[in-house]
Structures are given as C-alpha cells and as structure tokens.
C-alpha cells in the first residue's frame, strides 16, 4: 500500500515549501478533492469561451473597414479586452466566495478552538487560507490565457498586454481574497462575511467609477484661459487616483495609453496651457497600491486573530 511517506519522498514539487504550511496543504487537498474543482473550472471556461465566441461573431460583422475586410487589429483588441473584462468580473465574484468562509468556516465546524490550542501561528493560518484560495483563482486565470491569446491571431495585442492584464487581475484577486479572509475572521459567520465582502467590493467599484467619471468631466470642461495649471494638477491627480483604484478603468486607460502613445510604463499628459508631463502608467499604481493594501489587511486579520477572548 502506498503510504504518505513514500509519496512525499518522491515529490519534486517546486511548491514544497509553501505546502509546509499545514493549512495550505489541508485546504488544497480539500479543494481539489471530488468533482467540485473540476466543475468550477469547466463552468468558468465555458462562460469565458462562450462570451469570446459571441464577441468574435459580433466583432467580425461590425469591424469591416472601408475596403470591406475585417480590421484584424481592432477585432483582436476587442476580443482581448472583452476576455479580460469577463475574467475580471468572474474573479471579483469567485474570490470572495472562496475566502469569505475561510476563518468563519472553522468556527462553524467547531475546529477553530482546536487550531488555537495548537502551535500554529495566526499568520500561517491566514496565509494558508489565502494561498489555497488564490492558488485556485490563479489556476482559473492561467486556464483562460489560451482564450486571451486568440487575439494574437488577429494582431493588435502584444505579449506585454497579456502579462499586464494578468498582473492587474492577480492584484485584484489578492486584494479581494484578503478582504474576504478579513471579514471571515471578524464575523465568525460565513454568510455575513460574504455579504460584507461583496458590499465592500461594490462600494469600491461605485465610488472609484463615479469619482473617475466626475474628475474626467471636470478636466474635459476646463477652460484653458481661466484655469491655472495648479488646479489642473489637483484634478489630474484626483482623476488618476480614482482611475487607479478601479481595475476596469485601470486596464482601459492603460490600454488607451498603450495604443495612443505606444508606451507601457509611462504616459505623457498635455495640460490645457500646452505644457506636458510624464506620469507612470495606471497599472503600476494600481498593482502597487492594492498589493500594499493587501499586506495591511493581512496584518489586520492576523492581529484580530491574535486577540484572546477577554
């Protein structure tokens, strides 16, 4: 009979150090056992693939250029952008579902006290829960890369764009995962943690979208003769903040700068008085901001779990 000892000895798994975390190992075993993991992945690919097909059919009909041929570059970009948008949508919904039950589930299965009386450090518990959930989300994102890559057949999309979109999606997933685990740790109830996580996400999306739109409208409406470059700076930064807080606007404006200015890391902004300035591309600000915020939320979760019932 095969024993766990022989199984571990022959393992050449590069994730070995991560699997030393008992929680990560347990969660991954549980998650990948049975048909659920397979079913979720299949459904996810069917949704993304179905949308891509529909967009392809609609796109080929709509993007005929003046000579009567399909404009490959535009079609490629539309397909790519749509796949990323659908992925973003799904990640936004799937990640909280995977994490909002992580700590509260331990309370519900009455195993939390058992874990607390072991030597398992709180950060390992949080990291293990987060890692196992994000590993699966990452699997979903990787599995959809071939669908993103269909855009290559039509041109108009570079490998860098796929990498950047993946980074933004990943940063989004990491942040949402941390939010889910945080609410799961403070509420003890999975349902309540789910609701609080989705409400928070919805609030972030609404506030950042509205903020970006308003700031943009004000910038567009500026009269060059009356506005000072100082107030324009304020508006530019305000708009930049709102754009960079929202993954969708981040991706859209990154691609806009890429297409219009052919730059990946920076973009040039021309003030109404004619002077220009160079700023970092939104995806950089987005990724850095949300990764830092994720670290902060992670520590807040750990701190909360360290508290002993008084």
């Amino acid at each position: 009979m095969e024993t766990p000892a022989t199984r571990t000895r022959i393992s050449l798994n590069p994730l070995r150090p991560l699997l030393r975390n008992p929680v990560a190992l347990k969660e991954l075993r549980g998650r990948m056992r049975g048909p659920r993991a397979f079913v979720v992945l299949t459904c996810y690919l069917i949704v993304v693939g179905g949308f891509t097909t529909l967009l392809y059919i609609a796109g080929t009909a709509a993007t005929y250029n003046t000579t009567g041929e399909v404009d490959g570059g535009t079609l490629g970009r539309v397909l790519f952008g749509s796949v990323v948008a659908i992925e973003l949508f799904l990640v936004t919904f799937i990640t909280p579902a995977f994490t909002a039950g992580s700590i509260s589930g331990e309370h519900e299965s009455q195993t939390y006290d058992l874990l607390r009386t072991t030597l398992l450090p709180e950060r390992q518990l949080v990291f293990g829960k987060l890692f196992s959930a994000l590993a699966y989300v990452f699997l979903l994102l990787l599995a959809a890369i071939p669908l993103q890559s269909i855009a290559f057949l039509f041109g108009g999309v570079d490998v860098e764009e796929i990498v950047i979109s993946l980074l933004v999606l990943l940063a989004t997933a990491i942040f949402l995962g941390n939010i889910g685990v945080y609410y799961s740790a403070i509420t003890h109830r999975t349902l309540r943690a789910n609701i609080m996580t989705y409400v928070t996400i919805l609030a972030v999306i609404l506030v950042t979208t509205a903020g970006a739109v308003i700031a943009l409208a004000i910038v567009e409406g500026l009269d060059p003769s009356t506005s000072s470059s100082g107030s324009e700076w304020v508006l530019l930064v305000a708009r930049g903040i709102f754009v960079c807080l929202n993954p969708l606007t981040t991706l859209l404006s990154t691609q806009q700068y890429l297409v219009n200015q052919q730059t990946l890391f920076t973009f040039k902004y021309t003030f109404t008085d004619g002077t220009t300035t160079t700023l970092p591309s939104p995806w950089i600000a987005f990724t850095i901001f949300y990764l830092l915020l994720s670290v902060a939320v992670f520590f807040a979760t750990t701190r909360h779990l360290k508290r002993i019932e008084g």
């Binding site: 766990p4 030393r20 008992p22 347990k26 299965s109 006290d113 002993i308 008084g310």
Partner: protein, 352 residues
C-alpha cells in the same frame, strides 16, 4: 450503591448507562499519584466574569502530576470556562493559572505545548481522510514531516482505528470520531490532557472504550483532567475529584480522602444465620462503633447494619470479635459510600 448499578445526576443517557455494566465486569487498575504536592495544573484565586455574571470565583484548582482528575459539577457551574482559561482560549478576569509551571496568560505557547485539549464537541473536518486529519494537526504542532507517518500509525493503533486509516472522517461513527479526537490531542505527546465532557453523547460501548483509553493513557504517565456531570464515570476512573458549583470549588482532593472527609461514617452490613443479640454484644466492645441497626431479614437470614468510623483495622477487629465467639457470619461487607452521596452532601444545589 455499587459500581454495578451506576446512577447519573442528569440522565440524558439513562438507558445507555443501565446497559453499561454488562461490559464492565473487570475494572482496570487505576494509576497511583506519587506526590500530591507536585501540581501540574494549579490555579490561584482564578476568576472569570462575563459582564455581570460571575462564572468562576476564586477557584483554587490543584491537580497533581499523574492524576486522573474528575472535574464535576452541574451544567453552568463554570467547568467549561475553567477549561477555556486553562487551554489559553480565554483570559481570566482575575487570579492566576499555571500548567507545568507556565502561566496561561504570559506563556501561552509553552502551555499549548504541554496540553492536549478536547472540547465538548467533535471538531472534525468532514472532507478529510482519517490519516490526513491527524497529519494536519501533527503539522500544526510542528512535528517534522518525516516523523508523522509513523506517529499517525501509532496513534491510530492506540485508539483502535488503524483499519479506518484511509476512510473519510465523516464516515466514522460518533465513538470513532471521539477516539480520533483523542488521538489528535496526543499528537504532540502532551503531559496533560484537558477533556471537556469526553463521554457525553456516546453509546455505552463507546463510553467504556473511552474510559479504558483514559486509564491506559494515565498509565503512560499522562495527567488527565476531565469534566463531567455524570458521577458514574468519575466514580470508576478518577484518582482525584473536584466538585464545582456556581463557579466555586466546593471540595477537592483524592477520591478516597473525599469520601472519608465528607462521609466520615462507614457502613457495614453483616448477615448472620442466628444469635443476633450475642453478635451485637460482641460488636459493642470494638472501638469506633457508632451504632447498630437491625435490617429486615433477607431469605430468613438476619441482617444488621453497623455504622463506624476509622480505618480498615476496625472491620478486621469486628470480624474477629464475631468469629471468636463462633457466631455464624455468612456475609460481611462494607457498603461503599457512593460518590453521589458525597456530591449531594458537598453541593447545595444552587445551579441546575
């Protein structure tokens, strides 16, 4: 009341308990505590308050190393609160608590290393295999990966679940889950086991299996501190008991001393074929006799009840006094003062 007919204070399992004796013909020998002063669990004026409710007040718990300590009290007396403080899950409102000399407040990691805790619910992950469950907790106790397979096999052997190693946890019966939980508490070889109601909700066979397992573990040198509201359990396997009521320790100590302290009168029933008056006369010369009462005859045989104080030597003297006169004694036995009487005497029935 004797061991063969245990009764319970609260009877969620009255039928179960009534069936139990069939399986308990041979009671295992209990371990002995070497040094009553060598305390492995000690609390000093421990208090716990929830808002206006005083759950525990000035509790001084003393559990010597190697003891099987039964922590008895009605529901709501503060047993679980005490255990949650001892297992570092909750902070006390006042007083101190030490396990193996480590304070539960200032050295929780050392305390966690020394204890194995089983709460009053199973706490099992349903979507795991039996060996994975133990592997997970062994890993949580920082046991190196290479040692775990051997350890898991040993633990499963000990709790008699080796044949269920690769089964899913949710396929196990209640008794098996309870034994698996007990195996989990042993993963890091702790000195002290803290078990909250280990026998509650189990069928008679499972209860006896757990009981025998506890005695086995005590023989391996573990100190066992367990709570119960079922006196029959405590009566049979404890070396020490502590009775808690309304957050206060009413009485505690070695079980024999407790019986003597709270029930100083010992009772002897003597069955004779005749010559009752001569027998009474002979017994009155023995020191320590408090009184002799006639009991209704049984199968035509005379029965008398003798109340006395003192050591076993008194009983020997009484038997000698009777036999030296040739009085036909057919039965001569002490009625063991049962724990329930001790308990009823110690507690005032404030809770429950």
């Amino acid at each position: 009341m004797s061991i063969d007919n245990p009764e319970v204070m609260e009877t969620p399992n009255a039928e179960a308990v009534a069936e139990a004796p069939i399986l308990t013909e041979v009671l295992p020998e209990l371990p002995t505590v070497m040094d009553e002063q060598d305390l492995i669990i000690e609390t000093r004026n421990l208090s716990k308050r929830y808002g206006r409710l005083q759950a525990i007040s000035n509790l001084n718990l003393q559990v010597p190393r190697g003891a099987i300590y039964g922590f008895v009290g009605p529901n709501g007396a503060g047993k679980t609160s005490t255990m949650r403080i001892l297992t570092t899950l909750m902070k006390p409102s006042g007083g101190e608590a030490y396990i193996s000399g480590y304070s539960v407040v200032t050295a929780p990691r050392e305390v966690r290393r020394s204890i194995g805790y089983m709460p009053d619910f199973f706490g099992v992950y349903e979507d795991m295999k039996v060996w994975e469950y133990l592997d997970f907790f062994a890993a949580c106790y920082e046991i190196p990966e290479a040692q775990r397979p051997g350890l898991i096999n040993d633990l499963l052997e000990l709790v008699d679940l080796a044949h269920r190693r690769d089964d899913m946890v949710d396929k196990l019966s209640r008794g098996m889950k309870q034994r698996l939980c007990l195996a989990r508490t042993l993963a890091h070889d702790p000195q002290v086991l803290i078990l909250d109601e280990p026998a509650s909700g189990l069928d008679p066979r499972a209860r006896i299996e757990i009981r025998e397992l506890l005695i086995e573990l005590a023989k391996m040198g573990k100190t066992i501190f367990f709570s119960s509201h079922i006196l029959a359990d405590v009566n049979e396997i404890c070396t020490h008991i502590g009775i808690i009521e309304a957050g206060q320790m009413v009485a505690q100590g070695p079980i024999k001393a407790m019986r003597q302290q709270l029930m100083p009168h010992r009772v002897l029933v003597i069955t004779l074929l005749g010559r009752m008056d001569e027998a009474k006369e002979a017994l009155l010369h023995v020191e320590g006799i408090l009184g002799i009462v006639d009991l209704p005859p049984e199968d035509g045989k005379i029965r008398i009840k003798v109340e006395f104080t003192g050591e076993d030597l008194r009983m020997s003297e009484m038997l000698q006094a009777l036999t030296s006169k040739g009085i036909p004694v057919v039965n001569f036995a002490e009625e063991s003062s049962d724990l329930e009487a001790v308990f009823m005497k110690a507690t005032k029935g404030i809770v429950s």
